[in-house]
Symmetry: C2
Subunit: 421 residues, 2 copies
């Protein structure tokens, strides 16, 4: 008997899964290891930046007032009373018609209120004293970086959930975050099912194929920012599978299996979920590929039964598992980023169900254009290699013409969408 399954709309399926989304845990790690991780807390300025008035150039700290009358025909002469490098602080106070030689980044000496750049000051020695002459007037504050100009103490600079990039590393270092609060990487268990699967280093055999899904999913998990725990290949035997799943579920934050969710005679996952006492959220989604994607929850932990077809498996992960992982990483926009693009090629296939077409998104004259990245059968692995996006083609049409505006989900983006459906 073939089991009858009722497909639910994609948006509804995502919503059912997201009811079990929860924030992850925080860990403190060294700043040296934090690039690419996700902030678990807002990052605040721990002091003003600059935390003193400073010179942005090499030059001379002066009193602007002294240069009021300066002009090419009436240069003003100032005595250089001290000489400080970056990191030094002058003990002297700049008085009338005095100046202090100052390096980029150095603190403004007392009394000074402007900086004359090196190129604009002519130096001279007279009677063992140093002087500069200046041929134009300066205003108070000229060439000074003021305290707090860049950031005020207590100000939130970066929101939690943000992926740490090089600029954020600079901010963390500036504010003394030698330890950085980041989201602990969720641990994602992966089982591959199917006796047809060979390991990558095994030679091909009649009727068999190599296990590509486990490696693909592992990379998808890594790309999403989580940690992979590959639990091995399950053979097509019910009791073995059941025990393996039951044991694994306690050791991971969520569990993914690839294959075994269809209605074939060796598709044990639905029965395993049932015996486990897990609540099935859905076992059919109105979409292609990935319609047999099955998700269950057991003690509020999610079990993802993804299709054994590479592309269906890929899409199922990105739509359903990724937002759960991203939520654990504190993202406020856990779903794939959705943008509009122009279809650059016809898609003549009739489209009874909403279709996620593996595609290549690019930019032409500042506009997004997208084309399918290869054949679009769900078993076609090579088109996944060049895909950087999924074009959403809503169902109920006879196909799509080149030039049509379509929605596209971006696969290699960290911005995300709040709710793309």
């Amino acid at each position: 008997m073939v089991e009858k399954r009722t497909p639910i709309p994609i948006g509804e399926a995502v919503k059912k899964v997201m009811e079990f989304a929860r924030k992850g845990e925080t860990e403190l790690i060294s700043i040296d290891d934090s690039h690419g991780r996700f902030l678990a807390e807002d990052i605040k300025a721990t002091h003003d930046v600059p935390h003193f008035d400073r010179s942005p150039y090499d030059g001379f700290a002066i009193r602007a007032n002294d240069t009021k009358e300066a002009s090419p025909t009436n240069p003003v002469e100032l005595e250089v009373i001290d000489h400080i490098g970056a990191g030094m602080v002058s003990s002297k106070t700049v008085g009338p018609f005095q100046a202090v030689r100052i390096m980029t980044g150095a603190q403004m000496p007392n009394g000074s209120d402007a900086v004359v750049m090196l190129e604009l000051a002519k130096e001279a020695n007279k009677d063992g004293k140093k002087f500069i002459s200046i041929k134009r007037p300066f205003k108070k504050g000229d060439n000074v970086s003021f305290r707090g100009e860049d950031a005020i103490e207590g100000q939130v600079l970066i929101k939690k959930g943000t992926k740490i990039n090089p600029g954020i590393q600079a901010v963390l270092a500036t504010f003394g975050y030698s330890k950085v609060p980041v989201a602990k990487k969720p641990v994602i268990g992966v089982f591959a099912t199917g006796t047809e699967l060979l390991e990558v280093d095994e030679p091909l055999k009649p009727g068999k194929i190599r296990n590509s899904n486990a490696h693909m999913i592992a990379a998808q998990i890594d790309r999403a920012g989580a940690e992979v725990r590959y639990l091995g290949k399950l053979h097509d035997d019910f009791e073995t599978c059941f025990e393996a799943v039951r044991k694994a579920i306690n050791e991971v934050d969520l569990l993914i299996t690839t294959g075994g969710v269809s209605v074939g005679d060796y598709d044990y996952l639905p029965a395993i979920y049932e015996k486990l006492g897990a609540e099935r959220l859905f076992n059919k989604v109105a979409m292609r590929p990935g319609s047999v994607t099955t998700v269950a929850q057991f003690g509020r932990k999610l079990l993802f039964g993804l299709s054994g077809n590479p592309s269906a498996c890929y899409v199922g992960f990105e739509l359903f598992a990724r937002p759960i992982i991203k939520t654990m990483l504190f993202s406020e926009k856990p779903h794939l980023r959705k943008e509009k693009a122009i279809l650059a090629a016809d898609f003549p296939k009739a489209n009874p169900f909403t279709r996620f077409v593996r595609s290549t998104l690019t930019i032409r004259d500042g506009k997004l254009v997208v084309s399918p990245s290869g054949l679009d059968k769900s078993n076609i692995v090579t088109s996944l290699a060049t895909a950087n996006s999924l074009t959403i083609l809503p169902g109920g049409t006879r196909g799509y013409q080149r030039g049509t505006e379509v929605d596209v989900l971006m696969l290699e983006d960290e911005t995300g969408s709040e709710w793309p459906w």
Copy 2:
């Protein structure tokens, strides 16, 4: 005396650096570690995919010819003579009015040439034998994935220099690449100079700032795909700096210093390069920020003297050091990707030199728009945190109006440009 330096155009500076670009080395690593690395060789199909004709669905393998007359009023009955799972091969040959039950991914049995999906076959038992009845005709090849449909043996599937993504992992696994030829990560040495620098875990002191550049550059190196070797902080003493640089140069593929390249009294780098006997490629570039960027070569190894200002340092790395690293990673497009975007805010500052404005690039209705990501002084660190791009504003203008089309360099993109200047 202030040294007079002659600025050279950006494109010329990049060209001078790129004369010393060279391909990197190859190493074989486990497929389990290869996600995010760069392919050092073209990846070819090592066999046809599928490597046998197979069923993309659960159903029955049949001879299409037998169903010629089938209709709702005239169902055709076929005897089910075998039952095979994925990974199994039937030893039987499908004869006239016979069928073999077949699982998704299983090899087509001899004699069969089409697959009837499970939902379209009505099963029945008669006299201990199994039968199916079918109510519509099938054509030869219906629902069959043919050998070589996805890839032909020997075909180049992915070009070297490509960053390995999840789809590529699937391809590598499919073709048995348990060891993957990737570019060895170049080792990039980093020195920070400046006595004003405190370590990240030190409390603030008057006139001093924490060393943010080293952490920022380390993340930029990591983002570019290379390995960081942080060599520590150099103090403002010539002999110490010279010995440290001379020693380091033999241990790394390229050497970056931050700070010490200006014309200030403690800017030793130019003199160190000279004493070393290194050939200076340039010491001033007609751009803001980063005009003091100095690059030298010593035995064809590049020494990058980046500015001590965070933003100037950041830009100097991305324009000059990144393409050298990407070339070692076998990229054919080693430079930052350049695209056109619409300026979403006025940029009223007069612009005597070409300016690289830290900016946030986003998409509105399928079009790229860009705005400055904060204040644009070169010592402003927080605007780097939100920057995902650099807007190029060519020099010689009084500013730019909102709505103007501008060129933008994308910082978080792996596509790259061949030559963006």
